[in-house]
Amino acid sequence: MKMDPMHQFAVEPLGSTAPLFQIAGHPIYFTNQSLWMFIVVGSITLFMAIAMSKRSLVPTRMQSMAEISYEFVANMIGTASGEDGMKFFPFVFTLFMFVLFSNFLGLLPGSFTVTSQIAVTFALAAVVVLMVIITGFIAHGIGFLKLFVPKAPLLLLFLLVPIEVISFLTRPISLSVRLFANMLAGHTMLKVFASFVIMLGGAGGILSVLSIAPFFLIVAITALELLVAFLQAYVFAILTCIYIGEALHLHDNH
């Protein structure tokens, strides 16, 4: 029996195999990935709506969870982008909650992790970098290109400016691949250890008793994955804030 840890990442059309509609010759299906994206957005909306339904001055437990998430992101933007970065609060909050909830919901058994697809994470990272570039050009006009010119003697600049440009252009790649690879690696590891449990359990005799050991390892790795889910959402959001802060303030205190 072939056990394939990569099968959990397959995107398959749900229900009928007929496409919903076509865009420029490409058929658009309703896949399991679309279903889970709807579930993520629905649960964020439900959580926020129910938690804040009674706006009491002294918060209840549910309301304080929503307020904690709000203040967490607000502090993040305040420290990383300064006070005029606060107008990006809805954008960063949406990004943070989407990545957080899709990472967490992917840990439920039998679910599909939306952020384990490079298509999804690359789309998010591309939106972030586009936002940074557009903000920079609106705030500084053509002077935004001074971001690539650090304070250095002229001869070093011939080396430094191409390095700065290349490191700016790899930002969408590093942002998307960081999130994608963390989610992919975590879930693949869980599946591989699960296959160890099954193989040891089916081997009979003393080995069936030993199959409890990979099971405890799966529990420990799931705890690690909970931490990684939160951390990756936090790092995505804070790097977004740092890039936006750089676009707004160029090199003010570097």
């Binding site: 990569m6 691949v177 960081r178 690879a181 963390n182 992919l184 690696a185 951390l231 790092v235 804070i238």
Partner: protein, 74 residues
Amino acid sequence: MDLHAAKMIGAGLACIALVGAGIGIGNVFGSYLEGALRNPGAAATQTTNLLLGFALCEATGLFGLVIALIILFT
């Protein structure tokens, strides 16, 4: 050597990148611990930088893992 064997060897070699990730993450947390034990009051102000540094180090190692998966599955 047939293609499948070469793919397996390539994927295994690409995972050597994770050595760098291990050293880097150990370095980041070690420096944080050393600084925090000398100056406990200032430790809380650096947790943001700690988590950011950890994630950037981990990402660099995982880039190697992604290359290994690309080699293995395409």
